[in-house]
């Protein structure tokens, strides 16, 4: 391996990334917009979880004063009341799951409709019934506060969004780009030079890891200025986990890049891998309570281990020793993917 050739390819790829202004901007803007969006939505107490239709009502906006429903139901957080002029209008919305619950006002006792196939409707029904129970009968359970520092949803979500962005960037930035280069003849042109496959692939990988870590740092600083994230552990540990995580994700991208000249086929494969990885690696929601086989299946994804380690450090203040298992798995995955990608690589097939 000649370092000069590796370095040339590394610089060329970085130049390409930084000069492609649209892609460059989007790489920073995308995670920032998602974090900002979720910050606004979940930071607000007015965040709506359930939508409840009321009829007959003249306007869409419902005023609590002139609705004959239990006051504690109307004042519950995360419920949004929407007025409908007729039952037919409300039932159509309910049938199409645009609302979760429909109540007719002005009747005693109140009449309501739910869709039996809607889990949300079922929950609202229980909430509605609980609001009908007199307050003096509610003392059967006692609320206790969580001890210690509360983790905001945005603190839990933030590493997930960063990791998800890294995953997409690693898989598409290596997998898709190399296949495109193979298809349009760039790889053939490079093959005609003394550049070796090892030099080329290592330059691609390290360039992507550098760009991932650079993007991560910029987005982190930008989001932290706005949301002031709580970091329980050390920044160095976090950086290390992200670094090893990006290595394993980029190496996975390399496996996808090793063969093929069809961008459409590669897109399909990338979607096939990235979507389950995004949903099962707990980027958006926890797998707590999911069937065991789903949890086991999620372990095959590097994103699962990276995210678990990051959250342990960020949310729980864990150290490197506490995440050694995740780091070991990520490293093993990276080595396996690297060997597979390098051995399968072809310049033109």
């Amino acid at each position: 391996m000649k370092f000069k050739r590796f370095w040339t390819m590394f610089l060329a790829r970085n130049r390409e990334f930084f000069r492609d202004r649209a892609a460059f901007g989007w790489n920073f803007l995308f995670p920032f917009l998602i974090v900002a969006g979720f910050g606004v939505i979940f930071g607000s107490r007015a965040y709506t979880v359930y939508k409840i239709g009321i009829f007959p009502y003249e306007s869409k906006t419902v005023s609590m004063e002139n609705v004959n429903l239990p006051q504690n139901f109307l004042s519950m957080r995360h419920l949004n009341f929407i007025g409908f002029k007729s039952a037919q209008e409300g039932l159509t919305k309910l049938r199409h799951h645009k609302i979760d619950f429909l109540i007719k006002i002005g009747t005693q006792p109140p009449q309501y409709w739910i869709s039996d196939s809607s889990p949300k409707g079922y929950i609202v029904e229980k909430i509605f019934y609980s609001s009908l129970v007199p307050a003096e009968n509610m003392g059967l359970a006692t609320k206790k506060e969580i001890e210690g520092r509360q983790i905001r949803y945005i603190d839990w979500l933030f590493p997930g969004i960063l990791a998800m962005n890294m995953m997409f960037s690693a898989l598409w930035g290596v997998g898709y780009i190399v296949v495109r280069y193979r298809k349009n003849g760039v790889l053939k042109r490079l093959k005609a030079t003394p550049l070796t496959a090892f030099e080329y692939l290592s330059a691609q990988m390290l360039s992507r890891i550098f760009l991932l870590m650079f993007t991560l740092t910029v987005v982190w600083i930008g989001c932290d200025l706005i949301f002031s994230f709580y970091i329980g552990g050390s920044y160095f540990d976090l950086f290390l986990v992200f670094l090893i995580g990006s290595l394993s994700l980029t190496a996975l991208g390399l496996v996808l890049a090793s063969r093929g000249t069809s961008e459409e086929f590669t897109t399909g494969i990338l979607n096939f891998i990235s979507w389950p990885m995004m949903f099962l690696s707990e980027v958006w929601f926890s797998l707590e309570g999911a069937p065991n086989w789903v949890k086991m299946f999620a372990e095959i994804f590097p994103l699962t281990h990276m995210l678990r380690a990051v959250r342990k450090i960020m949310n729980d203040g864990a150290g490197l020793l506490d995440v050694s298992m995740e780091l070991t798995v990520l490293s093993l995955m990276a080595v396996t993917f690297l060997i597979a990608g390098a051995s399968m690589f072809s310049w033109n097939k």
């Binding site: 000069k4 050739r5 370095w7 040339t8 610089l11 060329a12 790829r13 130049r15 390409e16 000069r19 492609d20 280069y181 349009n184 003849g185 760039v186 053939k188 042109r189 490079l190 093959k191 005609a192 030079t193 003394p194 550049l195 033109n348």
Partner: protein, 294 residues
């Protein structure tokens, strides 16, 4: 004098298609060797196998008396027929990038001057015209001061002026003592640039030699070209050998006076007639019964 390159019984098959079928030739140092043939004849496949870009099904390629080694790539320069380059790099940056991949390289400013790239060297490599692009690709092929240069259809798609400019540059490369292997389906290009020519058809070499030798051997005749409307339908009665095309007939003759006499005797209108000396196009026509660009 030992050959610089020897190709022996080269075969390249793609499933059921035989793209190259037993090609054999050798090239001496310092000449321009042309592989001439119509599209699909197997020229590009042949040189890509020689370049070590694709592997042969069978056959041997000997460079400087030995099978090609890793050093082969340091010594050859390649201009592909179609290629893309790394994006978002200027012409000069692309040259610098490729320069860094080789041990022995051309001085960049000299190369820019040789290939006339100065005016657009700071433009992105995908924002230049067709003629500029071909000269730039040629510069990339020369970046490592190769002793053997492969040019695959270097002037395809260029207007006549740009083509002539490119030929001048290739002439300079030749005069600099480099060996050039050129593929083309333009007989004029082959005649202008090549010292030796191999004519390919359906994956095989059907004739080989210098352009003059081939013309002498396969087409020593003069060609009389007559628009069909002027020939008045009477060409079918001609005693001479002719080829019929959609808009014209071409008569091959070694006795122009006799030919003209016969045409006049058939009451043909010779106002729009043209007379052409023999060339490689005639050689191909006589060998295959088809035109190079059919």
């Amino acid at each position: 004098m030992p050959h610089l390159l020897e190709v022996k019984n080269l075969v390249k098959k793609y499933e059921k298609i035989v793209a190259v079928n037993g090609v054999t030739f050798s090239i001496e140092s310092g000449i321009c060797f042309g592989l001439l043939g119509p599209n699909g004849a197997g020229k590009t496949t042949t040189i890509e196998v020689i370049e070590d870009v694709i592997s042969p099904t069978s056959g041997e390629i000997i460079y400087r008396g030995e099978p090609r080694s890793a050093a082969f790539r340091e010594n050859v320069g390649i201009q592909f027929q179609q290629t893309a380059l790394l994006s978002f790099l200027t012409v000069r940056e692309t040259l610098e990038t490729f320069q860094s991949l080789y041990s022995n390289t051309h001085h960049l400013d000299e190369l820019v001057a040789l290939c006339h790239l100065k005016d657009f060297q700071h433009q992105y490599n995908d924002k230049i015209s067709g003629g500029q692009r071909q000269r730039f690709m040629l510069a990339l092929a020369l970046i490592n001061q190769p002793e053997l240069v492969f040019l695959d259809e270097p002037s395809t798609g260029l207007d006549p002026q740009a083509r002539r400019n490119l030929w001048d540059v290739i002439d300079q490369i030749k005069n600099g003592g480099k060996t050039v292997i050129l593929t083309t389906h333009y007989m004029e290009e082959a005649q202008q640039l090549c010292d030796q020519v191999a004519i390919m058809d359906y994956g095989k070499i059907i004739a080989q030699g210098s352009p003059d030798e081939l013309i002498k051997k396969y087409s020593a005749e003069i060609t009389v070209i007559l628009p069909k409307k002027a020939a008045n339908g009477a060409w079918r009665e001609l005693s001479m050998k002719y080829h019929e095309f959609a808009d014209r007939i071409e008569i091959n003759t070694s006795d122009l006076n006799a030919c003209l006499k016969e045409l006049l005797s058939k009451r043909m209108d010779l106002t729009d007639m043209t007379v052409r000396g023999s060339n490689l196009e005639n050689v191909f026509l006589n060998l295959t019964g088809r035109q190079l660009r059919e």
